[in-house]
């Protein structure tokens, strides 16, 4: 084995892009035996800093020291050879290959002229998974593994490739609560052997896992020190630059009329099986119903069907008493259904369209945005300017491509469009996934405001804190059915976690 990394220091890293100072003299010290959390809002400079560490960017100023000796990473291969192992937010695994094959992909020493020394890769996987307590079956095809297992394989792969320092970029964003707890536990143990940099939006995880924390804001370090010395609220304040009050649904739940009623719904998934199998659910006016569940239990199919994007096999969807099942999207939109889709980059917006164009995506053919066949650019412009202010969409101008915005701002564009249409019912799928704290707070506030205005809100999420903070009732979906509905105030992490795992209370 190569020399272990006892200490890695980034000293005064500065990186400029045209018109932007992405990192301004940022320093970071990571030591063996500790988890160092790196937190910051979108655009705070985390990614740039990590790209410098990974050898993708060259810093304009500053040095990188490994065990006290300066190093230069000219390419990602340099950084990798020096033991910097990156685990990206999106898994870099080939689903059709086995775990060992995935590992062998990156190990050029196993590539013989016309064949691959898979036996060695297998042994390597077994060794690493043994040594670091990361169970991984070398011969399992990756596509058969759960998301949590894939995350573990990603770790094993990185370690097999010779990582002596781990950088994890939002590793928990796709995991269930149980999987998250499991991963954090394993990372804690890993940190005893090698330094770990943990990038996350979720301050609860940062508190639970890290020994030290560095907070970036607008490219500069605003805090660096022991995690234990700060409360979650203090960290949040440092992160956003202002006091953060967690948004909660405090109002008494109304007993308005049923707005959205789903009965005995059956929907097929792409692979042909019934992903939603006899699901029934009601959402009343002025109510937020949370739909909790491990992703893949029918949420996507249900969302698609509610928006008219997927045929319904059986059952009914009624909005204010009118049947919507099987209707085309246009009709459903006109009936007053709003939808914040899970895939915000390709479904929620047209990425190459400007912000203002995206804000009229559903209404372009209606007044005031068009007159006869012609667009009314002035009206579209004014609409965009008003929504930009109201929804705090941060963009240089409403003429920039929506796809160039950060995830949080894209979500605000979608929310602005959906809410400005005054929907009778809104389906919000994972509205704050991967969104930074400031934007999350804002989005939660908007959902509560919509509830207060008398609309029915169905909130699909895996974030238990989010569900418990916002929902009047929480329905847990398991294998395409509602297993149980729990009043929001009585819900606990444990109870929801059990239900999500399919254990009936």
């Amino acid at each position: 084995m190569a020399e272990p990394i006892r200490e890695l220091a980034l000293c005064g890293i500065t990186k400029r892009f045209p018109g932007v100072l992405a990192c301004d003299r940022v320093s970071l010290l990571v030591r063996r035996g500790e988890v160092h959390a790196l937190v910051g809002e979108n655009g705070a400079g985390k990614s740039t800093l990590m790209n410098v560490l990974a050898g993708l960017y060259q810093p304009d100023e500053g040095r990188i020291l490994v065990n006290g000796a300066p190093v230069h990473f000219r390419t990602p291969a340099d950084a990798c050879a020096r033991g910097v192992g990156m685990v990206h937010q999106h898994f870099m695994l080939v689903p059709s290959m086995t775990v060992a094959e995935n590992v062998a992909l990156g190990l050029s020493s196993l590539h013989r002229r016309l064949r691959l020394d898979l036996e060695k890769a297998r042994r390597r996987v077994a060794e690493v998974s043994d040594r670091y307590h990361l169970p991984a079956e070398p011969d399992a095809p990756v596509w058969q593994l759960s998301v949590g297992e894939q995350q573990r394989v990603e770790l094993v792969k990185t370690l097999c490739l010779g990582a002596r320092l781990l950088v994890l970029d939002e590793p928990t964003s796709a995991l269930t609560p149980q999987e998250t707890d499991d991963l954090l536990e394993r990372l804690k143990r890993l940190a005893a052997e090698l330094p770990v940099v943990f990038i996350s939006h979720k301050l609860a995880e940062v508190k639970a896992l890290s020994h030290r924390v560095t907070i970036l804001r607008r490219g500069a370090v605003v805090f660096s020190g022991d995690t234990a010395g700060k409360s979650t609220a203090e960290l949040a304040a440092l992160l956003t630059g202002h006091e953060v009050r967690p948004v909660r649904n405090e109002a008494a739940s109304g007993d308005g009329a049923v707005v959205l009623a789903v009965r005995e719904l059956k929907i097929r998934a792409d692979r042909g099986h019934l992903a939603v199998d006899g699901l029934s659910l009601e959402v009343r006016a002025g109510e937020i119903v949370g739909l909790a569940g491990v992703s893949g239990n029918g949420q996507r199919e249900l969302s698609d069907a509610l928006a008219g994007l997927r045929p319904v096999e059986g059952g009914s969807i009624r909005l204010d008493g009118e049947e919507l099942a099987g209707e085309p999207p246009r009709r459903i939109i006109e009936r007053g259904m709003g939808y914040v889709p899970e895939d915000r980059h390709q479904e929620g917006i047209v990425p190459s369209f400007s912000v203002k164009e995206n804000l009229v995506l559903k209404d372009v053919a209606a007044p005031p945005f068009s007159a006869g066949p012609f667009l009314r650019l002035r009206a579209i412009e004014e609409h965009a300017a008003a929504l930009r202010d109201r929804f705090d969409i941060r963009c240089a101008s409403t003429a920039v491509a929506a796809g160039a915005l950060s995830g949080g701002n894209i979500q605000k564009v979608i929310l602005a469009r959906e809410l400005s249409r005054r929907p009778r019912a809104l389906l919000a799928a994972y509205p704050t996934r991967g969104v930074d704290l400031g934007a999350t707070e804002f989005i939660h506030g908007q959902l509560l405001a919509l509830r207060a205005s008398g609309a029915a809100v169905l909130l699909v999420s895996e974030e238990l804190e989010e569900l418990m903070a916002l929902s009047d009732r929480i329905a847990v979906v398991y294998r395409g059915r509602i297993l149980d509905v729990v009043p929001g105030r009585e819900a606990t992490r444990e109870r929801l976690g059990r239900l999500m795992a399919g254990v009936e209370a």
Binding site: Q58, R74, I349, K362
Partner: protein, 372 residues
């Protein structure tokens, strides 16, 4: 902006250098050849007008292609759609010789556009209904159109004079004068089709960026999932886009007949159906880019003909040069949009020009990995 211009200029120079090597290899003078290609056509008014003659069908085909590509349909079928347009307009004009020109000419052009649209709609419908890949269907329809064209020109539509005199050149009868486009400049072949092409460029711009239909077409093309989510009927968009693209190509064919040749002849499309696609992409799929791009291509086409005559370089060789130049400029455009490639190049340049031996690479020590 200056940066973009210099990158493109540098790429152009690189292409010129490569082309010079090619030219030297066949024993021609690179300088004389380039001078002929790029300035020869501009020296007198007749050849200059020929640039316009070439540019007209290119603009029309490229406009249709831009509408199709922007709507998410890769229409490679302009060639076939053009041929159908030529056949239809010829048939209509020959069968209604007595009509006065204000009726006959529009009718002739309309026939060309409709036939092209119908041919294009086949591919559009197949894609929308059966998800048949439009590249496959349009290319196959090109083959069918080419054979149909040859069959009709050699058989039913052949000029009876050709049969009588026995020369048998596959061409139709001459169209009645009422169907001709008038000449814009006397003594040249430049015809009023140029004005038609320019007005259509403006109309296509209005369609794409100023109408709700254009908005929906572009949305469906840019991200069909988002368009469907927003209630746009994506399948309908595909068919409309192919109707427009086919109509423009059919019109290009019709204009070529009534403006230049006045009859359907063999090889009339002259590859415009394919060159038009390149013009569309080169012009950034935008009318304001397509018009100058078509003029540039027109210049090169005329220049190529002249080079053959004056500089003794075969026209085919000029096509090689053109290919190199287009490739270079398109690559430069992509380079300008790719920050990673820029960073890599910047690093390479810095290393090449830094004084002294290159700095030691941190990772270049002896491989200390545990791999045997």
């Amino acid at each position: 902006m200056l940066w973009v211009v210099s990158v493109v200029a540098l790429a152009g120079l690189a292409a010129a250098a490569l082309s010079s090597l090619v030219l030297l290899a066949i024993g021609a003078s690179p300088w004389a050849t380039f001078v002929t290609i790029f300035t020869g056509p501009l020296r007198d008014s007749f050849t200059a007008s020929e640039i316009g003659v070439r540019a007209v069908p290119l603009v029309l085909v490229a406009l249709g292609t831009a509408v199709a590509f922007r709507s998410g349909v890769l229409n490679i079928g302009a060639e076939g759609q053009m041929l159908l347009g030529i056949l239809a307009c010829t048939a209509v004009a020959l069968n209604a010789p007595g009509l006065p020109w204000p009726v006959l000419l529009p009718l002739t052009l309309l026939a060309g556009a409709l036939a092209g649209a119908a041919w294009g709609a086949i591919a559009g419908w197949l894609r929308a209904r059966l998800e048949v890949n439009e590249i496959l269907s349009t290319v196959m329809l090109n083959y069918i159109a080419a054979q149909l064209y040859t069959f009709l020109l050699r058989g039913p539509m052949i000029d009876p004079d050709e049969l009588m005199t026995g020369s048998g050149t596959p061409q139709s009868m001459r169209l009645p004068r009422g169907a001709w486009l008038s000449r814009l400049v006397p003594g040249t072949r430049l015809h009023t089709g140029l004005l038609l092409a320019l007005s259509l460029a403006f109309l296509v711009w209005v369609l794409l960026w100023r109408t709700t239909l254009g908005y929906r077409l572009r949305a469906a093309g840019a991200e069909p999932r988002a368009a469907r989510y927003a209630g746009i009927r994506v399948e309908r968009s595909l068919v409309i886009a192919m109707l427009v693209a086919g109509a423009m190509a059919g019109l290009a064919g019709a204009v070529e007949v009534v403006g230049v040749h006045h009859r359907a002849i063999e090889a009339i499309s002259g590859g415009y159906g394919f060159a038009g696609i390149v013009v569309a992409l080169f012009g950034g799929l935008h009318p304001a880019g397509i018009v100058p791009a078509a003029a540039f291509f027109g210049l090169m086409l005329v220049g190529a003909d002249m080079t053959q005559r004056s500089a003794g370089v075969p026209a085919n060789m000029v096509l090689v040069l053109e290919g190199l130049i287009i490739l270079a400029i398109v690559s430069a455009g992509m380079f300008v949009r790719n920050p990673y490639a820029q960073e890599r190049t910047a690093r390479l340049v810095r290393r090449l020009f830094s004084k002294g031996p290159p700095a030691p690479v941190a990772a270049a020590g002896p491989a200390a990995e545990g791999d045997p």
